[in-house]
Amino acid sequence: MASTAAGKQRIPKVAKVKNKAPAEVQITAEQLLREAKERELELLPPPPKQKITDEEELNDYKLRKRKGFEDNIRKNRTVISNWIKYAQWEESLKEVQRARSIYERALDVDHRNITLWLKYAEMEMKSRQVNHARNIWDRAITILPRVNQFWYKYTYMEEMLGNVAGCRQAFERWMEWEPDEQAWHSFINFELRYKEVDKGRSIYERFVLVHPEVKNWIKYARFEEKHGYIAHSRKVYERSVDFFGEDYVNEHLFVAFAKFEEAQKEVSD
């Protein structure tokens, strides 16, 4: 009895509710939110701006930041942006080796993440580490060969470096996977940039077999026409007519063939 009496005195009694009818003016959720925002309870003053004066302070700063990043990763290692922010920060400090190790650890977590590979390769390229970059691109295209971004960026990098043969080899490796039509066109355009019309022709030959559609045969013929090889163009049209035979007769092919012949007569007469 004594304890309960003492207990009741210490804990204030909850007021007994007599009138259980709703009040006339009800508060709304929006009003609550508005009031909460105005009170600015969670608004903290900004941390004081500190200038780093000597090496020890710099090391302290780095330690703090690294600990922060590692803690975030430990909280959730699948959120890739934690890894990327950490690696970008190390890169900004020109700590390339540390950044590499972070990217490798991240790839251990999720090797199928495209941005990781892209950011990793970009870091190596920015730091002028050409062979490291090539290695990353090589691994990326081996592990994820159906991700076109890697191939495009790899071949572009080799072209920028002036390694045209290497670029060609990368394209050849890509074409082995028989990718979509746009990839073939990128290869052909690359060869045409260096005026290699014969090489372009051989690529077109393979292309029309991998993607045996009428419009691709027509594109091949028009490519020959554009570069002035009229006899070849005619041959391509004829071959395509044979290729599709009688079962897959397509009017577009004949229309294109006819237009081509008409254009030839106009030019010659």
Binding site: E30, L33, R34, A36, K37, E42, I114, E122, M125, K126, R128, V130, N131, R134, V147, N148, Q149, Y152, K153, Y156, M157, E159, M160, L161, G162, N163, V164, A165, G166, R168, Q169, E172, R173, E176, Q182, S186, N189, F190, R193, Y194, K199
Partner: protein, 235 residues
């Protein structure tokens, strides 16, 4: 000048008195004065004109030509309207074949940004833009052709993989290109203005962004429901 007056006097004849000779010389002298004055006047006029010309704005000639052309066009339009012909058809009949070609080429495709379709598509768009800007280095190309020999057109199994040593220029070009890409990427998202008197439906900043995202995707479907709730009753 004195000598020619003397020669002309002697040419006229021996029977000229000194005073007549003097008269003639004075006349000639006056003529010369008049000529000199005339010359000075004309020179001065030229100077004034040139000064005015120099003071004109840079493309006055171009502007004048354009204004005149516009006046001519208006006159022609009126003429066509009077005659009852279509101005455009008449114009088309007048331009020559190669002019027409040039206009078509000038109009070349603008390729406007259709908004985000997917990361692969966006990267491909970037790839198209970058490859259109490549200026191939044909000298380096020929040099590499000589060095490689057969391997210049490699297969996927060729052993040139990993043997290329890029020149400093090549590396510089690559690095510059990467940095330009990063710069362009930084400008993709812009800062939106903060609307002070918009309703607050969030409890912190992250929540605010999420609500904006939800509004973007579902806003057009839930607008009616929201209005009904606001009003308190359905219509």
């Amino acid at each position: 000048m004195a000598s020619c007056s003397v020669t002309s006097a002697t040419a006229l004849g021996e029977g000229q008195t000194p005073s007549q000779k003097r008269e003639e010389r004075l006349l000639k002298f006056r003529d010369l004065h008049l000529k000199r004055n005339e010359a000075r006047k004309l020179n001065h006029q030229e100077v004034v004109e040139e000064d005015k010309r120099l003071k004109l704005p840079a493309n006055w000639e171009a502007k004048k030509a354009r204004l005149e052309w516009e006046v001519a066009e208006d006159a022609k339009k009126k003429e066509c309207a009077d005659k009852g012909e279509d101005y455009h058809r008449v114009k088309l009949l007048e331009i020559t074949a190669d002019d027409a070609e040039r206009f078509e080429r000038k109009k070349k495709k603008k390729n406007p940004d259709q908004g985000f379709a997917g990361y692969a598509e966006a990267q491909f768009r970037q790839y198209q833009r970058l490859t259109k800007q490549i200026r191939p280095d044909f000298e380096g190309y020929e040099k590499q052709r000589e060095e490689c020999g057969v391997d210049f057109h490699p297969t996927s199994n060729s052993l040139i993989h990993g043997t290329h040593v890029p020149s400093k220029d090549g590396i510089d070009r690559m690095v510059d290109d990467v940095e330009k890409q990063i710069e362009k990427r930084a400008k993709y998202s812009r800062r939106r203005a903060y609307n002070d008197d918009a309703d607050i439906d969030y409890i912190n900043e992250r929540n605010a962004k999420f609500n904006k995202k939800a509004e973007r995707f579902y806003g057009k479907y839930t607008a009616e429901i929201k209005q009904n709730l606001e009003r308190g009753t359905a219509v």
